[in-house]
Symmetry: C2
């Protein structure tokens, strides 16, 4: 099992107190502990039986194109049938269109279990989520009736078609055109690349969410509209969308990354003309949380693998004397640096999961609450989203590399399985906005543009927590408060520098992102420690949480020091070197 | 061209002053500038024409086994023929056995050019180096006559057979046996795994250097002897060594990583019985420098690729206003964080290369000098070796990942070529002793066991340099001296803690390694800056060096802060968590 269900339950019931959370939201039919546990068990059974066994074989086999149709690896289609039959597709969907209406904080459980078992497979239904969100937020009733219902049963899947060869991070350079047709639909023409789950044989139909320009649309991002373009038309005929090829990639081989050619394909406008970018961002925010979760999931699967190996593999003696004198050597778990690498992984996985689930609770609040409470939840969620996406993917990659390192030479060999996590994890720092894009989003849009509202709200949460744990955990409380104070303190001067010269923003952004990430995870670990400290004394499991929290504050949080120095170094040190010297040494 | 020859010449002639270095060694026939430049040109031509074109195809094709014989990718064998004809194999070999007797600091040039063009290919002749060193240092005259001559023409290649399934980092657990035979040879039996270049079709014969135990040998590392076991016997018959399979790996697909079965294979003892580990370490030290260089080489090839892409790829506008208003977007080179990532790569590549070449000069001194000068060079070289291997491979991996990040989604696609560098680079942190093994070697053997002799010698070099650059580069001089002082200052308490509890050593070692690496690279960048500051004012190339040095001191050297905090956190924070909590969350 690539996830510790035990640990998941501890987070959900004890740290984040789901039952209490749902009651406070005033939900009509709040999910209770029994329901949540049943979902965990069922989802774990499904993912362990159906998805995990296809992870390595899907990587080895990859996808192929036969007669213009993508064929997914053996077993993917059958597993998807089981997924549909299990009713998993509609878990958090609108009940008016066939969904089960469960809060995001419940559906994230399924997401984690699926992704840690098989990320490439999970991306097929995963991409539907974006289309579902877009339709729920901006689709007409008719569109919801026709499209949403099919997505929520899982009979159809979705894609997100943003990128073109000349338009990657810069979506505003998209050239795909949409021309109105007499029947009220649009003829969409252009070529989209890097489309995850862009074509496959797992579902009856695929709904492509396409960003395109209407005739006479303004240039740049203001002239982008959003369309839904089905692979198979509603009358059963084939729409003129074709897969122009699939990419050979470093990882996620089981997911088809397609070039999609739209040749006057029939599409339907979603919402208003030229509002596509705004809609995209709504969708994208949800997707970014999911990508942050992918970082956690891969780290988690690799961590559990490495932990088992470290307990079994015997090499050398403990420096402080043999620990297994009757064996030819001690298990490598005795070596301090092996423990360090496992602790880094544990800290990233469990702290990262806590962060993702916390944001899911915020998303619940955005849906269920109104007024000031809703506004505050939205502020916090907006603020934390680039941190989740940017930092948890970067740390996820670090984490899977530690797992591989524990395996030594065996880690570099395919059959061990851990190197696949390294290859799969590498994409998470790139898609749905690179780490660099997240950093600009955080420092530019979320901090400076809002005069630090989200930051201050979150620092308020941190200070409240630090106050609450003063008694049981004085050291952690002090360190947490200091970190929050320093964070606030370094932000203001950055803002002032950026007012003079916007390159200062770009020069500081990535280090600011990491800095923020480490403080945010410190908050998460302090919450876990708070719960652990409140539990019965002598409990080994809770003692492990406290030890990991102490490790986090002693050996990971201090990474902020380097990032602080770097982000305060200023733009000149990056901008003053000539382009020539930088690119043609 | 995956290397800047210009930059290589600047380092060799201007920074490290090879001509002066050779004169000071009192070599009979010191290589002069013309000879070195000719070697650079010839080697660049060979590697660009013969090796670079096979890098991607070799990765895509990989090796295969046909009838128990490994077949290398198309073109590998022909390129090796050209290598032999060019006389490259014997460059630094003993002239008494057909070598050209050039110093290590010259042969490292060839090594760099080959490896950055095609690391997987370069490992075939690269592995010969270990056998050459072992024979030169410990072989009998007869062995040298028979084996060394063939290795120095390149007609035969070599391997290093250490690892067994149960004996990885812990070589002392090796079980392979060697039984004396009446003719004075030995019958070697056992199974070795992960043998790079273990079998192939490029050379007539392969000499396996095998660690094995004589009957009644003491257990552990004291009972290891070293043998040379040819693939083809000297009488032309096939020896009983067979390739039991090749591993499927994350990277370096072009190099065959073999399981080798020795079934009473005829072998010859090198040197004295039970001295195998000591001999192995002599060899290994040279190999570790080469692996550090591999980190630099891959980083270099990827950096040049990413720099070109950053200058060409147009996405978004500069935050401080359009820089190419007539184009649809600015080249991404205008974005501060793209510049930061390029600067990190430049700092690692050029600083790392300077470090490797500096150690090659030390190796020259060890060979050419006597008495105190030799002892000091040996001390410095021994001390720096784990830093070169440990830190340049880790930073090399960081560097290739930055290159990939600059490519965005395109970087994850195979055909772009940059993801291969990430996959290839990953092994360098594992083989020839993991980063963890390097860290223990540095802090345990090289620092604490010698009472810091090598460290103090190197800090002496640093202080001399800081003094020398006080005038032209006061800021760098001060920062360099401060770093050296702090380094010395944190070492002593570590030593004291380790005396109480050796786990303190293990707990601090990896962070100490990184700390040491960053200070060492600061020394290298200060030397480069010293040369640049002495050059003509207004020179753009030299200004680029100064700007990169300033970047290094402003944004990379401060990483020591985090490592200092971590290594001072102590062992308890790693050891106190229960094994259960660490491995079964």
């Amino acid at each position: 099992m690539p996830v510790s269900l035990n640990d998941m339950r501890f987070l959900i019931h004890d740290v984040l107190r789901y039952e209490q959370h749902y009651r406070s939201l005033g939900l009509q039919d709040p999910p209770n502990r029994e329901l949540i546990d049943a979902i965990i068990d069922e989802a774990a059974r499904f993912t362990e039986t159906e998805l995990a066994p296809l992870n390595e074989s899907g990587d080895a086999q990859g996808c192929r194109v036969v007669d213009g149709q993508v064929i997914t690896p053996d077993g993917f289609k059958q597993a998807y049938e089981t997924y549909i039959k299990g009713g998993w597709a509609g878990m958090s969907g609108d009940p008016a269109y066939g969904g089960q209406g469960l809060p995001d904080s419940v559906s994230i459980i399924l997401e984690e279990l699926m992704c840690s078992a098989n990320m490439a497979w999970t991306m097929y239904p995963g991409l539907s989520r974006g289309v579902i969100n877009a339709l729920e937020s901006h689709g007409s009733d008719e569109q919801k009736q026709i499209f949403l219902t099919k997505l929520l049963t899982g009979e159809w899947t979705g894609t997100m078609c943003l990128t073109e060869a000349q338009a990657g991070s810069d979506v505003g350079l998209a050239k795909t055109k949409a021309v109105p047709v007499a029947d009220g639909s649009y003829a969409v023409s252009g070529t989209k690349i890097f489309i995850s789950a862009g074509d496959h044989d797992m579902a009856e139909n695929i709904l492509h969410l396409v960003l395109a320009r209407l005739p006479d649309a303004p240039s740049g991002t203001r002239g982008i509209s959003m369309f839904v373009v089905p692979k198979i038309n509603l009358d059963g005929s084939r729409n003129s969308v074709s897969c122009g090829g699939i990419e050979k990639k470093m990882g996620i081989h089981g997911n088809a990354t397609c070039v999609l050619n739209f040749d006057a394909a029939k599409g339907y406008l979603i919402g208003e003309p030229n509002e596509g970018m705004r809609y995209m961002f709504t969708m994208m925010n949800g997707a970014r949380i999911v990508v942050g979760l992918q970082g956690v999931c891969l780290a988690e699967a690799a961590y559990l693998m490495a932990a088992d190996y470290a307990a079994d593999r015997e090499q050398m003696r403990s420096l402080s004397g043999p620990k297994a004198p009757d064996r030819p050597a001690d298990p490598i778990l005795v070596h301090p640096d092996v423990r360090r690498m496992l602790l880094v992984q544990k800290a990233i996985v469990e702290g990262g999961r806590a962060l993702v689930y916390y944001t899911a609770q915020l998303a619940d609040k955005v849906v269920a609450c109104r007024g000031e409470e809703q506004a505050r939840a939205e502020e916090l969620l907006d603020f934390l989203t680039p941190i989740v996406k940017g930092v948890l993917t970067e740390l996820g990659f670090e984490s899977v590399n530690h797992a591989m390192q524990i395996f030594g030479g065996h880690g570099f060999i395919r059959e061990t399985g851990v190197e696949q996590y390294v290859r799969d994890a590498r994409i998470t720092m790139i898609y749905e906005g690179t780490t660099q894009i997240q950093a600009l989003d955080l420092l530019g849009r979320k901090v400076l543009l809002t005069q630090g509202k989200g930051l201050m709200a979150f620092i308020g949460e941190i200070n409240d927590l630090a106050e609450a744990i003063k008694e049981p955990l004085p050291d952690i409380s002090v360190k947490l408060q200091e970190a929050a104070r320093e964070w606030a303190g370094l932000t203001l001067p950055l803002g002032n520098k950026a007012k003079e010269n916007l390159d200062e923003l770009g020069a500081a952004a990535v280090d600011y992102l990491f800095y923020s990430g480490y403080v945010t995870l410190a908050y998460c670990w302090a919450r876990i420690a708070q719960t652990a400290a409140a539990g019965p004394e002598g409990d080994q499991y809770l003692a492990g949480k406290l030890a990991t929290a102490r490790f986090y504050f002693a050996r990971i949080l201090p990474r902020t020091k380097s990032h602080k120095a770097a982000l305060e170094a200023g733009a000149d040190v990056l901008m003053s070197i000539s382009d020539e010297a930088l690119t043609s040494p």
